[in-house]
């Protein structure tokens, strides 16, 4: 039982890492990606192949997974972001990219096609995942609260005005895309060395959709919101496993409920922070109307 729970926590956190990356991209630049499973897969396969066939050290393999998926992020970002594709067209481009990567994995020799890679060394443990999750959350928060994060938000809010502030749209979007691709790659590497078996069927558009759904449900423009949503989206279907066929219904219902009752996402633009927790437990300052900070 304990193992089962720790397994769910590990899975949740691996998804959190990928979701936080996507939150930095979608939530802060306003572009939707429906192909992030591809970055996840590239990280998983790169790291997996390196340890499986070449006996590369686990950490080096993880780093390589991050590097390769970031690089692929640059390659896919260059034509799509340069063309200033509108949000929906960009989403379609990434959808195509995601499927292309999956088909490629199914047909390459090194990936062993649809059979996948069985028996990858089991290296990922819960403490490792926790450390990486904290690290990614910390870096994402730093990014968002820096001038680079603000530039991304400016682009999301109004790109015409952002350009007048001297912000290069392409650069800003590329930076966020590469960051999110790197996070997805890291999550993929951890995933491959946790489940010990990967095959192309694990990285379908359904995974991309789940990641994007976590970001939207958690709140565009929040880091902690998507984090909570990512955990929910892994944990809730697990918790409902005994209800077998009804769990997907409940899952869908949850999504619809969020869209109806919290269209801005669970957290909207807000973040959970130490201060907000303290504020929650204290009495609200009367008539101060908030904003007493600083």
């Amino acid at each position: 039982m304990l193992e089962y729970v720790s397994g769910i926590i590990t899975f949740s956190l691996i998804y959190v890492i990928a979701t936080v990356g996507l939150a930095v991209f979608t939530g802060f630049t306003g572009l939707f990606s429906l192909g992030h499973a591809a970055f996840f897969a590239i990280g998983a396969y790169t790291a997996g192949i390196l340890t499986y066939f070449y006996d590369v050290n686990f950490w080096a393999a993880l780093a390589a997974g991050v590097a390769v998926s970031s690089l692929v992020g640059v390659l896919i970002g260059y034509p799509t972001l340069r063309a200033k594709l509108r949000s929906d067209y960009f989403a379609i481009a990434t959808l195509g990219f995601g499927e292309a990567v999956r088909v490629l994995l199914e047909n390459l020799d090194i990936t062993q096609g649809a059979r996948g890679l069985p028996g990858i060394a089991s290296e990922t443990t819960l403490p490792i995942v926790i450390v990486f999750t904290v690290l990614v959350l910390w870096v994402a928060r730093n990014f968002v609260h820096s001038r680079y994060g603000r530039a991304a938000i400016a682009v999301r809010e109004d790109f015409v005005a952002a350009e007048m502030m001297g912000i290069n749209l392409f650069q800003v979007r590329m930076r966020s895309l590469v960051f999110s691709a790197g996070c997805a790659g890291l999550a993929g590497g951890l995933f491959a060395h946790y489940v010990s078996f990967i095959q192309p069927g694990m990285f379908t558009a359904a995974l991309s959709t789940q990641l994007t759904a976590s970001v939207v449900a958690g709140g565009m423009g929040s880091i902690t919101g998507p984090t909570v949503a990512a955990v929910l989206f892994v944990a809730v279907p697990e918790a409902l496993r005994m209800a077998s066929m009804w769990r997907l219904v409940a899952y869908g219902f949850l999504l619809v409920a969020i869209m109806v009752f919290r269209p801005q996402g669970l957290f909207g633009f807000r973040e959970i922070s130490w201060q907000s927790c303290v504020r929650c437990f204290r009495k609200k300052p009367a008539a101060a109307g908030g904003g007493a900070g600083q």
């Binding site: 820096s146 603000r150 904003g291």
Partner: protein, 260 residues
């Protein structure tokens, strides 16, 4: 020498001529006005100067350098900032953050430092905040720093846009209908603010405005556009007595109304 100079600038959208052979020049330190009926091409002129559109023909130069068809995000490096006719604030951000984004270009730190939030980044962030607050104080918005931009009243949103533009430390400020939607008192107050900022920051200003009191009060030089063509240019006095301008824009009754 002129600060801003447009020479024979033409812009076509398909078969529609938005601007035709427009030449105008603004001297350093001048406050100039751009007036004309709706659809005359005033905002198009701003968009051409700031690189949102590139001209079909003609050239634009600023402070002696050619800026024709410049990339919009490079405009600010030349020292040009603008506001927008239909307010373009970063609506979901606070008033302070709106200005901070403009200040950001001044204080440079690398991405690597930002990701680990080095002590240098923290101190730069404090500088950014302090600078942004100064800019807010100038237009009297300091006490609204933590308010969300889209919850400000309309007039204050316009002021915030001006503060944000000034935070870019421009030499040329383009104001697109800064007094739109304001009542006569508010618009005169705004004119006063523009005059103060003009003197304090050593600015050259080109403004589009429909409030004639504001235009006549502020502008040393006025350009009149009509159907994409420059109809006239001159001082407030000359414009008000120009029969063509009266017919096309101000209306024959303009003088009479004003003298009452």
């Amino acid at each position: 020498m002129s600060m801003l100079e447009l020479k024979g600038v033409t812009k076509n959208f398909g078969g529609i001529v938005a601007c035709k052979d427009i030449s105008l020049s603004v001297a350093p330190g001048q406050i100039a006005g751009l007036i004309g009926p709706n659809g005359a091409g005033k905002t198009t002129v701003f968009n051409l100067i700031t690189g949102v559109y590139s001209p079909t023909a003609g050239s634009i130069s600023f402070a002696g350098r050619d800026i024709t068809a410049i990339r919009p995000d490079k405009v600010v490096t030349h020292g040009i900032a603008r506001t927008f006719q239909n307010i373009r604030l970063f609506r979901n951000l606070t008033v302070l953050d709106n200005v901070r984004i403009a200040v950001d270009k001044e204080v440079d730190y690398a991405l690597g430092e930002a990701l680990v939030r080095s002590p240098r980044v923290k101190s730069r962030e404090r500088e950014i905040c302090a600078l942004a607050m100064e800019h807010l104080e100038e237009v009297g918005l300091a006490d609204k720093a933590e308010v969300r931009a889209d919850s400000l009243p309309y007039g204050l949103q316009r002021k915030l846009e001006i503060a944000r533009a000034l935070a870019l430390r421009p030499r040329l400020l383009l104001l697109d209908e800064p007094a739109a939607g304001m009542n006569p008192e508010e618009s005169l107050e705004l004119a006063g603010l523009v005059r103060i900022l003009h003197a304090r920051h050593d600015l050259t200003i080109l403004l589009i405005e429909h409030h004639m009191d504001v235009v006549m009060e502020l502008c040393e030089k006025i350009f009149v556009l009509d159907f994409g063509v420059k109809l006239a240019e001159g001082t407030a006095e000359e414009i008000q007595t120009n029969p063509e301008v009266l017919r096309a824009y101000l209306g024959e009754g303009y003088k009479r109304v004003r003298s009452q």
